[in-house]
């Protein structure tokens, strides 16, 4: 018994001594530089060289471009690679990769299976911890290599940031051409990296505010029919197009609910504009706001329970939040200036907006209760932010003023990271406005 007590005392003391000996150091700062990553060309057997050599080069180029563009990764130049043999796909010589400062490594192998199918095996390695982080096999058709590349980028992004990627996505926007007072506006769609660009409408009718259905290959947008703006639905696989509802006034600012089953929009009647929601299956329309002011630009929270919108009921354009049945309408923007185009983040934590103050336009974000406002970018004129599906990046459009001769006007698409860094121009064949980002393709 005595021994037991002695033992207990001894071990208790020992553990206390251990606790005392441990010094804690708080590391509250690090570097925000993009993570150095090596993306190698994927290997293939000699017998498949004819079909796979080009795909191998293209695939790593696309992954590299995706990761570089997002601003979180710094792909290392291939010429610096030390290990170049096929064995690295099974067990990289980590010290070689650390030597060139690479913290992550992408390797892969391509193979033709079943005669005409592409089998892509890819691995992501942590070169410092010397471990494999991700290993996947993707099988698809040979000409689908571009999509596979984006999917690999998404996997790398997800594994290293904790967030789903946004590379296997499309962007919808209004493609513009012609002089300022006679703009031809067409709906256009492209991959998020600008590839596979297509026009969806001929440009005969004016189109505005296109939005993706989050669950289907369907879009909604505003188009003018007999000089009356109407909300349309377009199935981008079949080309079928229809007017949403038959309303006495004009409808605009449409957007899908997160489940894709409803369209929320503004309906203007007798100079008053309110927010309505239409169930796409039952076609039942419900009025959500009833206010003499202009209520517009509604956007659902990702869980579908709340709606943010824009209203000038307080004397100036501000952002409001309400329940999905129209109750508990509450103003959340309070920092001065006019606010417009609120969009709820797919991550749920923020609302993006356009703010007009001191003659400039800013794209910013605030928490859903209006606190923590941060302006990400300011310019002469810019608006219409749209979130990437993971809620990390905003895409918007920016205009430049025309000079006295009416020349020099331009409208271009831009993206910016939620942190306010990595502002980039998105190249489009013609001018662009009103961009919208799709969810990850299914």
């Amino acid at each position: 018994m005595k021994n037991l007590i002695q033992n207990i005392l001894f071990f208790t003391l020992l553990s206390i001594t251990n606790a005392v000996a441990l010094i804690e150091i708080d590391i509250t700062e690090g570097n925000r530089e993009p993570l150095p990553i090596a993306i190698t060309n994927f290997f293939y057997d000699d017998v498949d060289a004819v079909m796979l050599s080009e795909i191998s080069n293209n695939l790593s180029d696309v992954v590299e471009a995706d990761l570089e563009r997002c601003g979180l990764f710094d792909p290392i130049n291939e010429e610096a690679f030390i290990q170049k043999n096929a064995a690295m796909h099974l067990r990289p010589r980590f010290e070689d990769w650390r030597l060139i400062k690479s913290q992550a490594l992408v390797t892969g192998k391509l193979k033709i299976v079943d005669g005409d199918k592409l089998r892509v095996e890819f691995r992501l390695w942590d070169t410092l911890a010397e471990k494999e982080l991700e290993a996947l096999v993707l099988i698809t058709t040979l000409d689908n290599w571009r999509r596979i590349s984006h999917m690999i980028s998404d996997k790398v992004y997800e594994r290293l940031t904790g967030e789903k990627g946004y590379f296997d996505t499309r962007i919808l926007y209004v493609s513009e051409s012609g002089p300022k007072n006679q703009r031809i506006k067409k709906l256009a769609i492209m991959d998020q990296d600008g590839e596979n660009h297509r026009h969806l409408t001929s440009g005969k009718e004016l189109v505005l505010t296109p939005r993706f259905n989050p669950t289907k290959q369907e879009i909604t947008y505003l188009s003018y029919f007999k000089n009356l703006p109407r909300v349309y639905l377009l199935n981008i696989e079949t080309g079928n197009q229809e007017v949403v509802g038959d309303f006495p006034g004009m409808t605009f600012a449409p957007r899908f609910s997160p489940d894709g089953n409803k369209i929320i929009m503004s309906l203007a009647k007798d100079g008053n504009s309110d927010i309505y929601v239409m169930d796409l299956k039952s076609r039942v329309v419900t009025r959500l706001t009833n206010n003499p002011a202009i209520d517009t630009s509604p956007s659902y929270s990702p869980d579908g329970k709340k709606i943010t919108f824009n209203s000038d009921r307080g004397g100036s354009q501000q952002i409001y939040v309400m329940d999905n049945d129209g109750r508990n309408q509450k103003r959340i923007s309070n920092e001065g200036g006019n606010y417009a185009t609120p969009v709820w983040s797919p991550r749920g934590d923020l609302i993006a907006f356009t703010k007009n103050f001191k003659g400039n336009y800013a794209i910013g974000v605030m928490r859903t209760n209006g606190e923590g406002e941060r302006l990400l970018t300011e310019n002469w004129y810019q608006e219409a932010p749209s979130w990437s599906p993971n809620g990390r990046v905003l895409i918007f459009y920016r205009e430049t003023p025309a000079n006295e001769d009416g020349q020099g006007h331009s409208s271009t698409l831009w993206s910016i990271d939620l942190t306010g860094f990595n502002e980039r121009k998105i190249e489009t064949p013609q001018d662009g406005s009103d961009p919208a980002w799709s969810n990850l393709l299914q």
């Binding site: 509250t28 942590d126 290993a135 099988i139």
Partner: protein, 268 residues
């Protein structure tokens, strides 16, 4: 006769063209968007996250992947002898004029003075416990349940006697400015603090792999941000290895440290 046929043909053609151009039904043109081709995705991480595997075994794995059956059922049993001996298992995949084992050894000695063969052993073998291999933070120590208070008490030092001076602490802290690549842009979360225990040799190099105190949390599906943060912290520790330490005479004071990687201010 012929003339009237030609006229008739022309008129008919014109009529057809007018119909196609004019009727709205033909205006519903097919949109020429590349269709979304489906991609089959197979997870192979669990099967392949094993160091130094022979080609034959890899082939076996590939066969099992193709069958798309339960991964675990088809997982080949790997022989634990792989890493036990210093002799590397001959890897036919590496036969193609590449890495001679000796060169690998040499390089690792030159470039990574810190890593002892002992650690390698611990890292690499026992392929039967692949899950543990995946999680480098896992150790054999009893797992302590980290409660919320622990995050709150991050700054409290009442149970600790701080034996380093502020400038010594700063000197260590400042090294991580360079080494820690912060995963920026995560959502704000007050519990996002990663505590890493490190054991150092007198020269400041790591004595054993750094260890996340709350490694259980790393493997919870709902804690992906914590996992990413923890992995970034572990990379930082290895990048900063060897750490420039205070005087070696006071080795006992700093041979074990707890680094609290706290990005909360940065994420705000």
């Amino acid at each position: 006769m012929q003339f009237s046929i030609i006229i008739s043909l022309l008129l008919h053609t014109g009529f057809i063209i007018l119909t196609v151009m004019g009727l709205p039904i033909f205006n519903n043109q097919k949109i020429d968007i590349p269709p979304i081709v489906q991609v089959e995705i197979l997870e192979i991480t669990e099967q392949t996250n094993v160091p130094e595997v022979s080609k034959r075994e890899i082939e076996e794995k590939e066969d099992s992947e193709e069958k798309k059956e339960d991964v675990k059922i088809n997982q080949p049993v790997l022989k634990p002898k792989l890493e036990k001996s210093d002799e590397k298992v001959k890897d036919p995949a590496a036969d193609e004029e590449i890495i001679k084992p000796e060169i690998v050894e040499k390089k690792s000695v030159v470039n990574m003075p810190i890593r002892k063969p002992v650690i390698k052993k611990k890292d690499n073998f026992d392929p039967l416990k692949i899950a543990e291999l995946i999680d480098m933070a896992k150790d054999t120590k009893p797992i302590q349940d980290v409660k919320d208070e622990e995050y709150e008490s991050l700054d409290s030092t009442d149970t600790l006697v701080n034996k380093l001076t502020l400038s010594e602490e700063d000197a260590i802290r400042s090294q991580f400015l360079r080494c820690w690549s912060i995963p920026i842009g995560m959502p704000e979360d007050d519990s996002l603090v990663v505590k890493v225990k490190i054991s150092l040799r007198p020269d400041g190099s790591l004595m054993k792999p750094p260890e996340v105190t709350d490694h259980q949390r790393m493997n919870k599906p709902s804690q992906k941000y914590f996992k990413v943060l923890a992995e970034s912290a572990l990379r930082a520790v290895r990048r900063c290895d060897p750490i420039k330490t205070p005087a070696v005479e006071r080795y006992d004071d700093w041979k074990e440290l707890q680094l609290n990687f706290d990005p909360r201010d940065i994420l705000r």
